[in-house]
């Protein structure tokens, strides 16, 4: 493959852009991130599920099957344990997702609870895109801080 010729000016602009990016956001974007969610039988559980789908679609994280960890499927537990970063989104403070990982000896690096963001738990499956976006933003903020 032929080497890309880049002018000195372009290189300087690239460095300047990187410096601004790094000043505003850490550039640890290549890190493999696993997303586990409770997917519970409530509005907040389903918000967690939808948020994980958003991360998967964006490519910023891999939506991983929490049931496999709960079922003690060795290959899946090993995968979760070996991943570089693990995010858990629980719908409510019961924290089933986090507890499931802990029972398998896997620590969550970032834990977000949907009800902590002001969403009231209800036993229905009605939620808005704004509520999902709120959760996605909170996870991203937690990863950057």
């Amino acid at each position: 493959m032929a080497a890309r010729k880049v002018s000195y000016k372009t290189q300087l602009e690239e460095i300047r852009r990187m410096r601004i990016d790094m000043a505003e956001n850490c550039l640890c974007n290549g890190v493999k991130t696993l997303i586990c969610v409770c997917s519970g039988a409530s509005n907040v559980g389903q918000i967690s599920n939808k948020a994980a789908m958003v991360f998967g679609e964006e490519g910023t994280g891999r939506f991983f099957c929490l049931a496999g960890i709960g079922g003690n499927i060795a290959r899946m537990v090993d995968t979760a344990r070996d991943e570089e970063m693990r995010v858990v989104i629980d719908g409510c403070p019961t924290g089933c997702g986090k507890a499931t990982l802990e029972r398998a000896g896997v620590k969550a690096d970032v834990h977000v609870v949907v009800t902590d963001l002001g969403v009231k738990k209800q036993h229905n499956f009605n939620f808005t895109d704004e509520e999902v976006s709120q959760v996605v933003a909170k996870v991203k903020e937690s990863l950057q801080s």
């Binding site: 990187m18 790094m22 000043a23 850490c26 640890c28 974007n29």
Partner: protein, 78 residues
């Protein structure tokens, strides 16, 4: 032994620093662990993707979080 952890301060950089410190403690070796958050100093190592680990001036990883086991093997010179 001088170990530098490169990263401007997100949860991922912090986890890498924790892995490094745990690996050092497990081996019981004498090492200085420094968190480098200054962008210019990070770039002086030629690292464009954080987090990164530099051991005695040599970049051992960038753009990922190596496991404690992998870090231990570097510290043991394997």
């Amino acid at each position: 032994m001088d170990i530098e952890v490169l990263g401007t301060g997100c949860a991922k950089c912090k986890k890498l620093e924790e892995n490094v410190r745990n690996a050092v403690a497990e081996l019981g070796i004498e090492a200085t662990v420094t968190k480098v958050e200054d962008i210019t100093k990070i770039m002086e190592h030629g690292v464009m993707n954080t987090p990164g680990v530099v051991i005695d001036g040599v970049v051992r990883s960038e753009g990922r979080i190596p496991s404690q086991q992998e870090i231990r093997s570097w510290l043991q010179g394997k």
